[in-house]
């Protein structure tokens, strides 16, 4: 196998996790795929900067994350309230076979500030350590920890409120069922 074929295979193998991160981060499949494509192109053109034997995924995530933020900053200058539109866009995700639960969860995730969402996705879903996530985001480990904590408690608040809202009709259903049986 040539080194290039190895590299191609390694990049291809990284695509699913890059996409999962990009989709969860941006809330938009098309935009996420553009981000992944730009990430691959940039990685290839800077491949000499990658130290073989180190974590390729972490390097790729760093590139994707930086692209996302520079694009985000550009967009913010163009459009007002990019965060507010995130929740709406999030619904365009492919939903085949997904449980209703995710809907609530995705919209709660969408309400988090981008830096908290990013930290939570890196540590809680992508399987990076706090140290790796800090490297990817270019910040201190303590910053990542506090972002993850804030993300978790914000989500807890949002999801708990959702549950409470669900409670009313649910209770009535249960009461009705109990009355029948």
């Amino acid at each position: 196998m040539t080194p290039d074929a190895d590299l191609r295979d390694a990049l291809l193998a990284a695509v699913p996790s890059l996409r999962a991160f990009a989709i969860s981060l941006s809330g938009q499949v098309d935009r996420a795929d553009d981000l992944v494509q730009d990430t691959l192109l940039r990685a290839l053109s800077h491949i000499d900067r990658f130290e073989r034997g180190t974590n390729l995924n972490a390097w790729l995530f760093t590139i994707l994350r930086n692209l996302f933020h520079s694009e985000y900053r550009k967009r913010r200058r163009e459009v007002e309230d990019p965060d507010g539109s995130y929740a709406g866009r999030l619904k365009v995700q492919p939903e085949q076979g997904s449980r209703l639960d995710f809907e609530d969860f995705r919209s709660a995730l969408a309400k988090l500030p981008a830096d908290q969402r990013e930290a939570l996705l890196l540590v809680g879903a992508s399987g990076f350590s706090y140290e790796e996530a800090a490297n990817i985001c270019g910040c201190a480990v303590g910053t990542i920890k506090s972002r993850v904590n804030r993300a978790r408690s914000r989500l807890a608040g949002l999801l708990a409120v959702d549950d409470v809202e669900d409670l009313g009709p649910d209770r009535m259903t249960r009461a009705a069922l109990q009355a029948i049986t």
Binding site: F102, A156, V164, D166
Partner: protein
């Protein structure tokens, strides 16, 4: 009958019926935190299992061809 996540909330004081933030009981927090973790991983797994779009295979396949052509020159 009662769903797991909701039982703990139903058992919470009356404040649970208002839209105010729920009281921070340790047990409730733990239940919600584990639900967050489960949801996050489940949502992510679903995304990870999606097939890789052709555009990425094509892109990387093209690249390999170009590179090996360059090397032969």
């Amino acid at each position: 009958m009662i769903q797991k996540g909701k039982r703990s909330l139903a058992a919470a004081p009356d404040a649970s019926l208002s839209t105010a933030k729920p009281a921070h009981e340790p047990g409730l927090d733990r239940a919600i935190q584990s639900r967050i973790g489960d949801n996050l991983r489940a949502m992510y797994d679903e995304l990870l299992q999606q097939p890789v779009p052709d555009r990425f295979r094509d892109l990387l396949g093209e690249l390999e061809k170009t590179r090996s052509a360059e090397q032969k020159r």
